[in-house]
Symmetry: C2
Subunit: 389 residues, 2 copies
Amino acid sequence: MSVVVAGIGETQMGKYPHRGLHEMIQQAGFAAIKESRVDPDRISAAYIGNFNGQQLASQGHFGPLAMESLGLSHVPALRVEGACASGGLALLQGVEAIRSGRHSAVLVGGVEKMTHQNTATVTHALTSAMDIEFEANTGLTFPGSFALIAHRYFHEYRNIQSEMAQVAVNAHDNALLNPNAQMHKKIDVDKVLSSPRIADPLGLYDCSLVTDGAAFMVLVSEELAAEIGSSNGHRRVKITGSGHGGDALSLHGKKSMTTFSSSLSAAQQAYSQADLKPEHIDLAEVHDCFTITQIINTEDLGFFKKGQGADAVAEGVTARDGAMPINTSGGLKAKGHPIGATGISQAVEIVTQIRGEAGDRQVRKADKGLTHNLGGTAGTCVINIFEGA
Amino acid sequence: MSVVVAGIGETQMGKYPHRGLHEMIQQAGFAAIKESRVDPDRISAAYIGNFNGQQLASQGHFGPLAMESLGLSHVPALRVEGACASGGLALLQGVEAIRSGRHSAVLVGGVEKMTHQNTATVTHALTSAMDIEFEANTGLTFPGSFALIAHRYFHEYRNIQSEMAQVAVNAHDNALLNPNAQMHKKIDVDKVLSSPRIADPLGLYDCSLVTDGAAFMVLVSEELAAEIGSSNGHRRVKITGSGHGGDALSLHGKKSMTTFSSSLSAAQQAYSQADLKPEHIDLAEVHDCFTITQIINTEDLGFFKKGQGADAVAEGVTARDGAMPINTSGGLKAKGHPIGATGISQAVEIVTQIRGEAGDRQVRKADKGLTHNLGGTAGTCVINIFEGA
């Protein structure tokens, strides 16, 4: 059974240290509910993605928090967490709740409040997504982890620093056309390559952003979608395939550092459920916590052969006007990475593109889109495939 | 469709500041898997309850953490959080995964590491389960919240401090017979009433414990249970009814402070699904974060009329040899409250009693048992009903 995306909503992503959690949840949540034309009384469950409200804002228990914010206190809700894939996991729980027939309308959302903290606090909080006992306590940080991954990729294939820089340039180009993006700043490859080193070979512009934001969606069964009809004036978008892959939390526990088995597993599930192959996908939002990550992910998704993801970037294939547009929203790199909201925010972009409502950044063909959301050093991966009716 | 509990495992609960998360997960998780006789390769999903690893141990992303600990890194897993009901929610996600037919064997578990932190840090971390913006920042703590609730109960009904003390005495009596309990200490009503005040009318012995521990379960479909057969030598226990209720996160957002609507809603769902009434239940593990909470919960569950829960305690009804034994394990009060594990640990006790394997604390009739797990000031409630075959 397919699941229909009835409504979407998100905040502008950015640095808003004075915005409260309630405010961001209300802005994104009410927008999604209003747009859906679903009677709020029909919503019978909710799944909220939040990565680290506890270390960053001393706040947990986001299920009832979000429901009280939205005037839906009676709705049973829970927080799901899988590091940077928390939003994708919330979406997936909602999809499964509809698909199983248990619910006909659910709310999924994500929120993160980050920029009121200093960089040291945020960097420490982010390490809760890796293994504290074996990794973080040795001094490893996430830029450090993905720098190791990049070096290994260079060793196994070739040095792709200039193509990684082009990933950042594409992201910034796309974000310039996205009013909800955090970063509205044109950059070029030289700027990326000459930017301060964070963890060699990753420079400042190879890293995604620290972001405040929220994103929500109302998901409904096909029966309820039929009842609502096309009264909301948007092209109907269905979620036709989903996958959740797991892998070791630690870097040392993985079979490979340059192929993420959680991505392979989630992709296999999602393609199989949707009965589609990688070449059928028109566009994708792909987890780009670092520029190297996006290139590895596009290979793992089967868009490009292993070791050839960088060539595709160099040839313009992944640009907005290319054959396989990646991260038309600006991605985590330039739209922003409000961690718990990221997976839902990726889906908001794909739905917007499939509806043909992406304005200046609309791609030519957008019938089938995919979201790829990674947690930690790929311990978690969630993939969803969206199709326009 | 019913869900079969194939295996259970838990650590001893207590103060083990030098035990790591991996160690506790392995002790409880391997025990559950081994006892289940389920081939680990059949386990296709896992749900891990953890309340606040991030503030208490700088650790999140418990899905892949637990799977790597258990040698199951390929299994997709996620953390679910709903404050003190995190364990119950993990159990519920597992139940729904089996019931929907998506999986035939799943692992559910919970873990919390707390006692290495001082009381101030733990108290602050606990407030992440209430509304930070509206409640915690005013100085409210959980003993304070439940003290307000107790005072309101006294106002609406009568002062029940001595019955609340008896709740603590019963819990300690039961824990004396539970080798996994944290507290092995006989107390009497006078000791509870004369104990230092934490937040009047709650004294030290009205409050549950700060605990390290983990608890795990393997859940399987009836088909897979039939395949395994009775080779594991335990009476078969099924989960026949489940419910998840929501309410406002904040105290000010609730309709009543002495009847928890999340409990009413979860109970209605669970009883209806199991086709049972409160009077059919033989014994229950009921969330006793404070002594007042247990009394309110037993009323909300329909075991006793509103305002009469304290009478039942005074009359010995809720004692281990009473007509409705409550918290034969010792409860959160004396077995311990390893927050993310608590909901699973409650279920471990009910399954152990229904199997007739509770040793010295075995109750006479244990065919139908119930677990009630509350999160925060009742923003979340999860109820499960277990029946022996």
